[in-house]
């Protein structure tokens, strides 16, 4: 069964063997595979590595940087599926829009465990202060006052300006996003869906350092950096969410 309605069968090579995502393989093998594009032409989806906490310490992983500027089309949209696979399997989803220097979020789903008992997302100001906020599925910061849409707008508290007038006269901002397992013995991963859009449809991957990505977006304005996801080798140069850099 193709994943999320995709018509493609994909192969992922991990050294000595390969796995067909659409084939019949063990859970372990499938978890080692990258799922790739979910909605060709509209979204490109990437699975971040599955992580575990230890028996005594919680776990964190830097999964995404979003860059935005003030020019038209330079306000990226991403959907993050939060999967916890052990020891309380559950799932929830949030959408994040970086609107220039302003972070806006929308929540979907109500998992069976709540708060830090469920894997969650952390917003981090990537500046020298490194201020963070825990985005748990049941945080009291979520509001349903907007016609039933569950939204949370942390604003510009956790965004960092990385360029002043550097993108054809517009300033550029970054929102750093971490994936957190808030308890011990936990396992989980995320699937990050990047929306194909006007001036933002480009992505950097794990082979690019944070500094190189920052230098690129200071002048190019908007896009995504998935620092823990290996650069796909099975796509042509242009993917559904844009250009692989």
């Amino acid at each position: 069964m193709p994943f999320f309605g995709s018509n493609f069968s994909r192969l992922y090579y991990d050294g000595t063997t390969h796995h067909n995502v659409d084939g019949n393989h063990s859970v372990t093998s499938q978890e080692m595979s990258y799922m790739g594009s979910a909605f060709p032409g509209a979204w490109a989806s990437f699975r971040t590595p599955k992580i575990s906490s230890s028996s005594s310490q919680t776990a964190t992983s830097h999964i995404l940087d979003i860059y935005s500027s003030g020019h038209w089309g330079a306000q990226p949209v991403v959907v993050i599926d939060v999967h916890q696979t052990y020891y309380r399997p559950t799932w929830w989803r949030l959408m994040i829009l970086l609107d220039y220097n302003y972070t806006k979020m929308f929540r979907i789903g109500s998992p069976i465990v709540t708060g830090s008992n469920n894997a969650y997302i952390e917003l981090q100001n990537s500046g020298s202060g490194s201020t963070t906020v825990a985005v748990t599925n049941n945080s009291s910061s979520w509001s349903s006052s907007n016609n039933g849409v569950v939204a949370w707008t942390p604003g510009n508290t956790y965004t960092e300006q990385i360029g002043s007038g550097t993108h054809s006269g517009q300033s550029v901002f970054r929102q750093r996003i971490n994936f957190i397992l808030g308890g011990v013995y936990y396992q989980g991963f995320t699937i990050v869906h990047l929306m194909a859009m006007g001036g933002s449809n480009r992505a950097h991957f794990a082979n690019t350092s944070l500094g190189t990505a920052q230098a690129y977006y200071q002048t190019q304005g908007a896009g995504f950096h998935l620092p823990s996801v290996s650069k796909p080798t099975y796509y042509p140069n242009t993917i559904s969410a844009g250009v692989i850099l």
């Binding site: 590595p49 599955k50 230890s54 005594s56 310490q57 992983s61 013995y185 396992q187 620092p227």
Partner: protein, 73 residues
């Protein structure tokens, strides 16, 4: 055999995470991480530090700890 990669801060030795895949060098450098590589049988759930070494925590160990009331239900 399953491969595991345990990440800790190079300077503080603070625990980061345990992953089934090895992060790229750029990620390790940017986040100042060192990695400990391990291999295990498939019934291993996670790892715990004992002295300077990491030892596997199996599903059977977790059943035993739960039955002794050492873990939440």
């Amino acid at each position: 055999m399953t491969k595991w990669y345990i990440y800790e801060n190079k300077t503080t030795e603070a625990f980061e995470n345990i992953s089934a895949s090895l992060y790229d060098d750029a990620y390790l450098d940017d986040h100042n991480l060192k990695v400990t590589e391990k291999e295990s049988e498939e019934d291993v759930i996670t790892w715990e530090k004992s002295g300077s070494d990491w030892i596997p925590v199996t599903q059977a160990m977790i059943y035993d700890r739960m039955n002794k009331g050492e873990l939440p239900e």
